[in-house]
Amino acid sequence: MINERDDFLIGEALVGEEPEIAHIDLIIGSKRGAAGAAFASSIAQPKQGHTPILGVIRPNLPTKPMTLIVPKVSIRNLADAEKIFGPAQSAIAKAVADAVEEGVIPKSEAEEFVVIASAFIHPRGKDYQRIYRYNYAATKLALSRAVEKFPDMDKVLEEKDKSIHAMIGFRINNLKKPPYLEVALDIPDWRRVEGIVRALPKSDAIIIEAGTPLIKRYGVEVVQKIHQLRPETVVFADLKTLDTGNLEARMAGDGTADVVGFSGLAPVSTMEKFIEECKKVGALSLMDTLNVADPVKVLKKLKVTPNIVELHRPIDVELAQSRDREQESEWGNIGEVKKVCGNKVLVAVAGGVRVNKIEKALNAGADIIVVGRAITTAKDVMGAARAFLQRMDVEDVDQFRVMTDF
């Protein structure tokens, strides 16, 4: 079951509902290896409030493999102790024995192995039935996961960007599933912005851009307020930084921005410092090519490339061109931009994008469609945004985020 390289196996499982919810972290391994040493060391050196106890099915009947239960939450009084010594201890011990009976742990190895199970019992948990059942299920699940080495690395890589941690309540979207609709909020009026943000449909495909005028008026703190209204939505702070790259990137990162933008007109060292700082603060970097004659030439000069390149038509030009509706928008050579970044970049197109231009932009290779006034000045903001999303053929909510591990 355990090869020489592993020495011991590790499993984890969370089962049930609060407050009796059971969370088990366990290791299983040979008495002669690290697991055995940890077992002996723990039982010989109990810590106040976290006294390890042997798992017994009933008094005077320890389970096999021998199992040490370590309470994660400090035992403060007799009531806490009774939950661990009663239903949790019995459930964990029974689950280990059943795992042997069901062949999860080979019977021939029962004497060879030890189990150390760290158990979470909430002090508010009162229902012994639920404590027993949840801890039994969590232990069996954690054991089988340990044996199967769940999750494999591919699973971790697949799930890391679409999972919600129960304790945080939201997830971080790393923009791995384009296309996205970026709604640009260039309006420097918070109450109006709040109205638009609240009216936008709940969709994983929406990015909210805190536009430069909005940030100039209120500072990067405006990003935090947008996140308070929509914790799961990616918020882009469009700083258009030209100098002090690391300083401005950090300011926006501290302001909880998911994406931070700099100008492609900035000195190369500023852009590189900006991108590096974004990596440090866990934000994605975006290069805005507004007024940049040759974005590909600029990208080739950079030692590090941004996560997103926004091919941008300025609002002033857009307004002048809007008089002639027949004139086609030009976003530049998207394929060449991707190629020079090793195809590890998202390309956003901005400026004058209307619903009827979506197909053209997507066919040209755009990953992010930036839309401003077509949504923000619409009478029906939600309807306008939905029209874009439908034309982009994106799901409202990523269905694959539903946890189906057990």
Partner: protein, 99 residues
Amino acid sequence: MVKLSEEEVNEEESVFHKKLKIKLKEKGKEGRLILLQDYLDYLIKGNKTIPPDFPTFVREIMGLDERGGFLHIRLWNENSELVDFAKARGYEHKIDTYD
């Protein structure tokens, strides 16, 4: 200088917005200060980020005309933090179209 086209001017003006009529608990400056204190208390106790326009909001509240004991505050969505606040803190209020 770039000018907006006629179509775009109409587009800008056609945006739907409303107003929150909120009754002050006391008349005059005192009533406004109570409202602002209450709003700040609501935000802080509710662990909400202070709105970025708070200084502007303070100036607006202190400068708005009082109409029969009510202040008329411009809104863009009925589902607004200000409306939530008015409900939570028991302010007599009404949402109306902006005139």
